[in-house]
Symmetry: none
Subunit: 131 residues, 4 copies
């Protein structure tokens, strides 16, 4: 499990957890039918309150990514992989789109935007810490 949570990056922790779990399913790091780590396990792993993990797991149930296995834990649904792949594109695309739109509205020309993106890509490609 290579989950990593950063409090104070502006995004609620439960949201970071839910997103990362979706991405993990999309990447097939977690598969349909798998049991996700128990609330308590995950909470300890992330050094976070169990309630926070529970909230993330609850949201994932609402999204149809997890389903309860009474007394057993929570399981990745059959439909989850497809949904998560779609959502990954959607969620990441939305965030990129918002950033790019703000560039344009901020007065950067399309060329300047491309330059800035390339600059950032170069930065992130190099020695960045990646999970």
């Amino acid at each position: 499990m290579l989950f990593h949570v950063d409090p104070g990056n502006g995004h609620p922790i439960y949201d970071q957890i839910a997103r990362q779990l979706k991405f993990a399913v999309a990447s097939q790091a977690i598969r349909a039918g798998d049991l996700v780590p128990s609330v308590r396990e995950m909470a300890q792993h992330l050094a976070v309150n169990p309630n926070t993990v529970a909230r993330a797991y609850r949201d994932l149930q609402v999204d149809g990514v997890l389903e309860p296995l009474r007394g057993e834990g929570l399981r990745v649904t059959r439909e989850a992989p497809d949904r998560c792949r779609l959502q990954r594109r959607q969620l990441l695309g939305d965030r990129l789109k918002a950033a790019i739109l703000e560039c344009r509205r901020g007065g950067l020309s399309p060329d300047e935007v491309r330059d800035l993106i390339n600059h950032v890509l170069a930065e992130t490609a190099s020695s960045e810490t990646l999970p």
Copy 2:
């Protein structure tokens, strides 16, 4: 003034205002020495609580972008254009970087990230509403 504020996009309104004003200065839509609209005017224009505008203007004074002109209002400082141009690159770059990093951590390969970016660029380039 073609400011546009979107409550519920996750970013605080006062921050949206401050950023947009910086960008306007960077783009020379507003110039050093110009008076900015009064808090009341701006608040009415944006259909926003005056306190929110006041907060944005306060932050901009702290950043040295605005300075009070006794009895007249707030004026764009002499140093603002340079500062705003630098900050624009920084602020927008940071947001792009965060989005791109999340793509990578979310399991997308560099190529997939480029594809997604190009897809988004195509979307935004076309008939998007731009200020």
Copy 3:
């Protein structure tokens, strides 16, 4: 045995089992003196954890519906049929009453409640799957 258990309908599985067994006794589908299926059999039949069936059987013993027959299993008591007929009316009536009361409290007039009931009766009367 035409028991049917639905996890995730809000009611605990052991309760569904106990109720259905009581109803079966009330309907004389099971009679005084009959042996009920073993915990293992029933658990396999319902695709349910044996502990869950055991819990239901335990509750039924407390209610005086089942009694142990040393080395043989569990037997329906002599008093069970009468008790179950009474309890059936009570249990089902309670649930109906709760539902109807919520309708009234939810702002439906007595007439609207009757209409809604008739509508539901029509639905359930037709092609519903009944045991």
Copy 4:
């Protein structure tokens, strides 16, 4: 405000709150555009923890019944009345249907079910405590 909550009736408190608020909107006791009581007010009114109310309000936002008015509170959405009227029928109908189906599966004939319903209706019609 005639909300009433009963812990230990099997249904989570936050759910009771959310349902009752939907019903209140359906009955036009609360109207589109109205501000609902603040989390703290409602919590005190119901003698319940504010977090519990917050959870109910959050669920109602997910359902599109409430929307945040930043710094002001939560407002009933424009679409809420229609949605709530539909949902009221759905939610109450589901509960009635479940109760009636259990009667039938429990071995009661259609006539016996009608008799039982009439008996319960007579009970509830009389001196029952209604809000």
